[in-house]
Symmetry: C2
Subunit: 346 residues, 2 copies
Amino acid sequence: MVTVAIDVMGSDLGVSELIKGITALSMEADNQIQMVLVGDAKEIAKALVGQVYHPKFIEIVHASQHITQDEKAKEALKTNQDLSIVRACQLVKEGRADALVSAGNTGGVILSAAQSFDRIAGVQRVALAAVLPTEKRRGQRQDPFALLLDVGATLHVTAEDLYRFALMGSIYASIVSKNTSPSVALLSNGTEIGKGPSEVVEAFQLLSENTDGLSFIGNVEGLDIPRGGADVIVCEGFLGNVVLKLLEGITELAADLAKEAYDSKLIWRLGLTMLSKELRKLRRLTDWKQYGGAPILGFDKVVIKAHGRSNARAIRNAIKLAAKVHRGDLISKIQQKMEPRCSPTV
Amino acid sequence: MVTVAIDVMGSDLGVSELIKGITALSMEADNQIQMVLVGDAKEIAKALVGQVYHPKFIEIVHASQHITQDEKAKEALKTNQDLSIVRACQLVKEGRADALVSAGNTGGVILSAAQSFDRIAGVQRVALAAVLPTEKRRGQRQDPFALLLDVGATLHVTAEDLYRFALMGSIYASIVSKNTSPSVALLSNGTEIGKGPSEVVEAFQLLSENTDGLSFIGNVEGLDIPRGGADVIVCEGFLGNVVLKLLEGITELAADLAKEAYDSKLIWRLGLTMLSKELRKLRRLTDWKQYGGAPILGFDKVVIKAHGRSNARAIRNAIKLAAKVHRGDLISKIQQKMEPRCSPTV
């Protein structure tokens, strides 16, 4: 049995949507996941009314306050005493839960985790990852996504940070996609060695010479991201964040255009219907909900950040992901690889 | 009459495709553009055979060598004596042409220009711009694009560089789109002041306090790019290059999927035909050919980089663009704004 602490507050679709996913998961006979829901107990109890669930797998821990999506996390953490994300982190810190899941304010999750957890020895900066849908399928599980990190926990980074992001991302991908040797690439402005700012050039060197078993395939460019050129793509957080939001923006724009077409003319609606199978393919390529969430890597605890707009299916997948990552021994596998790198010679 | 030197070598579609656009432009009665074609005279003469053109507007200057798209520009410039791009730059330097257009190797254009031209006083780093199609239309001309710079002439930059990119981009946009006050934004990982690495935070401050008449609207995020959130978007070259190539990659992927659908099933072909008007809209949104090219800003000469895959229409538009930018007095307008910023107090 794995115990997952879930901050159920502060997501875009609200507590009741998350509770739908949580209750559904509690009814899956083989799930073997104990869920501790952290948040406003009254709201949670209200959302549970009318849902079918297995009470054995659901526990509630009350927290009177939470950080909203629009709030500045730093200030919220300073001024509020009883925040759901802080309480959820404490449960994990105290060993009452094995992993943390939150669909709340991203800054809030990173800062609360930084307050509660230690960084794994040798890790200077933690990284927030994102799963990017790609057409290519990966690993034993045939997962149709690549991992991009960092997408916002850092701004500029050093070559050593990039190396550690590659290492952590590779270990994570090998657990999640059952891919024994995920391909790792640096995001740069050209594929050749020597392309990019000095930290990228230096990281290229470090990765080329790595003895950690990383399958480094070199640099990829922006156009390789949608093509699925690598299983794990590594970059600084400032760059990764712009890339991620750009991809989200394009997905939304395409959906808007399709909706406009569907709503405005019968012939367009017919055309879209005829194309539905091909469009489903496209939709699957932009459907982050199937992946549930992405990890924050570098803490000594498993932290899965679910998307702010998570629906029932997305949060269920995020919780299952957290349990899987814990069972796959993510933290100790990272610790083992980081340890030799902590010596002052590196 | 404006004289434009055109490096006709080294583009993806070859000399003959460019010559089609050039000859067509020579037949436009009101074009008032003298074109000096620089490249292999034999190849040019061969490509002219069978084309209808006005010989008065076309002149040929022979250069025996050129840089290919795949070549490393730095090495090519070192080892080759008689390169078309170098010769074209010299024509502009010597005043025999007013502006330069090339669809060749981007690094080759930037490095040759750097060898031949001076940077405008006060400019520390030149910037390569790109035009991004947007749904929103801009300026008196109702142009459907935004300008993004830098997309690859630099890697990391300073706050002052970002400020100068904003200034040069704004002046360029005001000439090209006849937009008296283009909106200018910084690309960052959040819209609030204080978001981003220190150089972006500092540039935000400089732009907010600007007395150069810049309409600074703050930061935009990745998702604002396809939405067309600003007329001029400013960032470092490393970030801009990844963004640009990502956008190109997505455009290609969408085209591939559409082609696959069209080719594989009659019902999908029917569906696409029914949607053709809506798809045209989407295609216009991703059609860089209508814009011809984008400037390299910061040199004391007008330099327009046309896309490597330029067809006849694209190169014709790039040449017209170069003439328009020269007529619009881009260089002296930038010089006027930069001059007060050259004092040691800035």
